[in-house]
């Protein structure tokens, strides 16, 4: 049987979900026999190729993240969201009650350690979106593994279900939002 192709992306988040994924212990050896990783922070491959499963960690807060998520959706058959940021907006969405300009000012000018700071204006730096969005408000998401970060157990459950051809819905006893 051909290996299942997987791509993962890490948007606005702390990488905790990927860390939790690496925490699935010996299951990772079984998994390696069944799947192959394409674009992912783990493989450091930067280009998108068509895959079976796309996994998104993190919320969408700037133009680049939006583009990357759309590209992943375009290239995958099933899209799974990992973690509170991708599922609900998470900690990153804290800024959603503030003005974008205030957030930039706070980060680049008002922080105590900043001397003569200025808000970056280079076209090479992706512009912030007005709000931080969970993945499903940008593209269609097929399944969700919430948690901050999701327990390795939850990630394992999600992958096992997907490999068995089912869309995972976490049972209540392993679902966590914290």
């Amino acid at each position: 049987m051909a290996k299942v192709k997987v791509a993962t992306i890490w948007l606005e988040s702390c990488s905790g979900c990927h860390m939790s994924f690496l925490d699935i212990d010996e299951f990772i050896i079984d998994l390696a026999k069944l799947v192959e990783f394409h674009r992912s922070p783990i493989t450091d491959i930067k280009d998108f190729t068509p895959v079976d499963v796309g996994i998104v960690e993190g919320s969408v807060g700037n133009e680049e993240e939006k583009e990357v998520l759309e590209a992943l959706r375009h290239n995958c058959k099933v899209l799974m969201a990992w973690g509170d940021c991708a599922c609900f907006g998470g900690v990153c969405a804290m800024r959603n009650t503030l003005d974008k300009e205030d957030v930039l000012k706070r980060a680049y000018i008002e922080t105590p350690s900043t001397y003569k700071g200025k808000i970056p204006s280079s076209p090479g730096v992706p512009a912030l979106l007005d709000k931080v969005y969970p993945a499903n408000q940008i593209v269609k998401v097929d399944c969700y593994i919430p948690g901050c970060p999701p327990e390795p157990e939850a990630i394992k459950y999600g992958l096992t279900e997907l490999l068995a051809g089912r869309l995972p819905v976490l049972p209540s006893n392993i679902m966590r939002f914290d």
Binding site: A81, F88, A93, T97, Q137, F177, D178
Partner: protein, 653 residues
């Protein structure tokens, strides 16, 4: 009440007329998810989690507010209902900023656990991200509107259980917020800090500063005990993690004495002063230094054994067991009768006052606290229960708002009740007796059917008063006195509560007069005196109160060679005159905290807190209740009774 039979989920169940559908479901073990329902509060049907399907009804109806009727056929968990419940949850999560990852309630949150139950792994609606404020102006409580689901549990707790009605909904529709008073910061509002709101809050919208992020309930062990602070004897539950008291809750707020107050819920989480951790004695330079129990006992025994009277002072915060050991030490071992309780004057005033009224009665003549709740008229004389005995304050406010009880205040000082009072008489300081007399006469003038004037011996005390003249002397409006008299004459079940404002005069006649007034209202007079300490009544009934009068004057004259002051965890040391300690050669103090009193001591012995001890306490109204230790005592602090008994052993050597 007639019995009704319904079918719920194809099962025949019984209930009674007047039950709601939810009542019957809960009574029959049928689990229906709820969020805005809370035990002991009225139901409002705000959250729509408990929607059920009833045959022949046009729509789904909320079980919590829907009256059950005979023959109803109800289903509680159809596929459609479950779909709707998840939908409700998604709407709640997207309405405000519910981000669990850094929420103080995560793990204890009812909204979160419902989301887990309904496997809500995403929300299909657009998030609103409203810009809500967090109000942290209150010393103990934070009100975070970001986490609020507008279930109204806090509002109903504040109104129906605490009787304060500080919280309510402000603004309308999309802008609706829980607000205090007329939208003031909570810290500047009339909040009485009972903390009922934060216990009732299903999410992290209202939380206690002292408990935040110190541990989830699931990580804590919970110990049920009795609060020993003010003498009401409220049931209390301590949540303990790593031997730290993290949070204080009520085991059941719907029960009498289940509400708790600022002192019980928050006070014990903030240490009032530095702890005394070991026994201490004076070194050669006169500095207090740590020493062993043996050295401390030996020093005390040597000095007390020198001859001369040894006096004893004990706080009404000590448990009955400690009081017993203290009585044994003072009376049997030291053979001293120069012993008194710190609020002994209050006891002498009250007991003499009662004896003048009825020489057989004693403290048993006083009413039970719960009688306040069923009273139709409440007279508060010289007391501010919201400050001294907050749960009694809540009882009064509940009676006033729920039963429309009339409130009559006789006090020159403003207190949180005065704006609710039907009549507020403000006699000048020192003239309460005349005001009480004028009120009694006013009752007689209105006449009471229950106590025919000629048959009630109490009437004699009020006959000769001229109300108009008295009003003039007191500077009161004569109509207020007539109005109060009319209310009391028509009352079927009135009660009088008095406190510090009366007891400060140390005048037994005032107490007798209050009892006489009370017997014009009810045949059996109903009065409650607010006692100062958690176990004042226990201390008074232990026989430790000096029978003749305060021993302070003798102490100041230097009539005692030594004194043993047993404060336990009392910090109200203003009751002890420093002159009396300075006039005494040798001072031993047993206490939990360093204070101006320990500064005058020659030997200091440590004392356990009531939260660390097992002991029995007698409430204001004479009920004995026992505490269970919530935290293990830190270090090598012996129990109070053990300390006293071991000291007695040394004295005998």
């Amino acid at each position: 009440m007639s019995e009704i039979t319904l079918t719920i989920n194809n099962k025949q169940v019984k209930g009674k007329q007047g039950d709601t559908v939810l009542d019957i479901c809960l009574a029959n073990g049928i689990e229906v998810p709820t969020l805005c329902h809370y035990k002991g509060l009225s139901d409002v049907g705000a959250c729509r989690m408990c929607l059920v399907e009833i045959e022949k009804e046009r729509n789904f109806v909320p079980a919590c507010t829907y009256p059950a009727r005979d023959g109803q056929v109800i289903r509680t968990h159809t596929e459609k209902l479950e779909k709707y419940r998840r939908l409700v949850l998604e709407l709640l999560f997207t309405e405000r900023n519910h981000l669990c990852a850094y929420c103080v309630a995560s793990g204890d949150c009812e909204l979160q656990s419902l989301a887990y139950k309904y496997q809500m792994d995403n929300a299909r609606y657009q998030y609103s991200w409203p810009d809500k404020v967090t109000d942290s102006s209150h010393p103990f409580i934070v009100l975070d509107h970001n986490r609020c689901v507008l279930c109204g549990r806090c509002i109903r707790t504040c109104d129906e259980l605490a009787g304060a009605h500080v919280l309510d909904f402000g603004k309308r529709g999309w802008k609706t917020n829980v607000c205090a008073d007329i939208n003031q910061p909570l810290g500047e509002s009339s909040c009485i800090s009972c903390g009922g709101c934060f216990q009732a809050c299903p999410t992290g919208a209202i939380f206690s500063k002292a408990s935040a992020y110190k541990g989830k309930s699931s990580e804590c062990t919970s110990v049920e005990s009795v609060c020993a602070i003010c003498g009401i004897g409220c049931d209390i539950k301590g949540l303990v993690k790593n031997n730290n008291l993290v949070k204080v809750e009520s085991p059941d707020m719907s029960k009498p004495r289940g509400l708790l107050c600022e002192m019980g819920r928050f006070g014990i989480l903030y240490p009032p002063a530095e702890r005394v951790k070991t026994p201490m004695k004076r070194d050669k330079k006169g500095k207090l230094i740590s020493c062993s129990y043996e050295e401390a006992f030996e020093t005390i025994a040597r000095n007390f054994g020198k001859g001369g009277t040894v006096a004893g002072l004990v706080s009404g915060k000590a448990s009955n067991e400690t009081l017993k050991a203290f009585a044994d030490l003072m009376n049997k071992t030291l053979k001293s009768n120069m012993v008194d309780v710190l609020d002994g004057d209050d006891y002498r005033t009250i007991s003499r006052g009662i004896a003048q009224f009825n020489d057989k009665a004693g403290l048993e003549i006083e009413a039970k606290l719960e009688e306040i709740l069923s009273s139709d008229t409440i007279v508060v004389i010289g007391a501010n229960p919201i400050k001294t005995h907050p749960v009694i304050g809540s009882y009064i406010m509940r009676a006033a708002s729920k039963n429309k009880a009339n409130l009559i205040i006789i006090d020159p000082l403003r207190n949180p009740f005065t704006f609710r009072a039907s009549v507020w008489l403000k006699p000048p300081e020192g003239k309460k007796a005349l005001a009480i007399k004028a009120l009694g006469k006013s009752i007689l003038e209105h006449g009471t059917a229950r106590t025919p004037a000629d048959k009630n011996k109490s009437t004699a005390n009020f006959k000769d008063i001229d109300i108009k003249k008295a009003a003039g002397e007191l500077g009161l409006d004569v109509h207020d006195i007539y109005k109060a008299g009319e209310i009391l004459a028509e009352s079927n079940n009135g009660i009088i509560i008095y406190g510090e404002g009366i007891l400060q005069y140390k005048d037994p006649d005032l107490i007798t007069m209050i009892l006489n007034l009370a017997s014009l209202i009810n045949k059996e007079p109903k009065t409650i005196s607010l006692k100062r300490y958690g176990n004042s009544r226990g201390a008074w009934e232990s026989g430790l109160c000096h029978s003749k009068g305060s021993i302070n004057a003798d102490l100041v004259k230097g009539k005692a060679a030594g004194i043993y002051v047993l404060l336990t965890d009392d910090t109200a040391d203003s009751q002890i005159s420093t002159e009396s300690l300075k006039a005494t050669e040798f001072v031993a103090v047993q206490t939990s905290y360093l204070s101006p009193i320990t500064a005058l001591a020659d030997v200091v012995l440590p004392s356990r807190l009531w939260t660390e001890s097992k002991g029995s306490y007698t409430t204001i109204d004479g009920i004995k209740k026992s505490t269970t230790p919530m935290i293990k005592v830190s270090g090598q602090i012996k129990s109070d009774a053990d300390t006293l008994q071991e000291l007695a052993g040394y004295m005998k050597k």
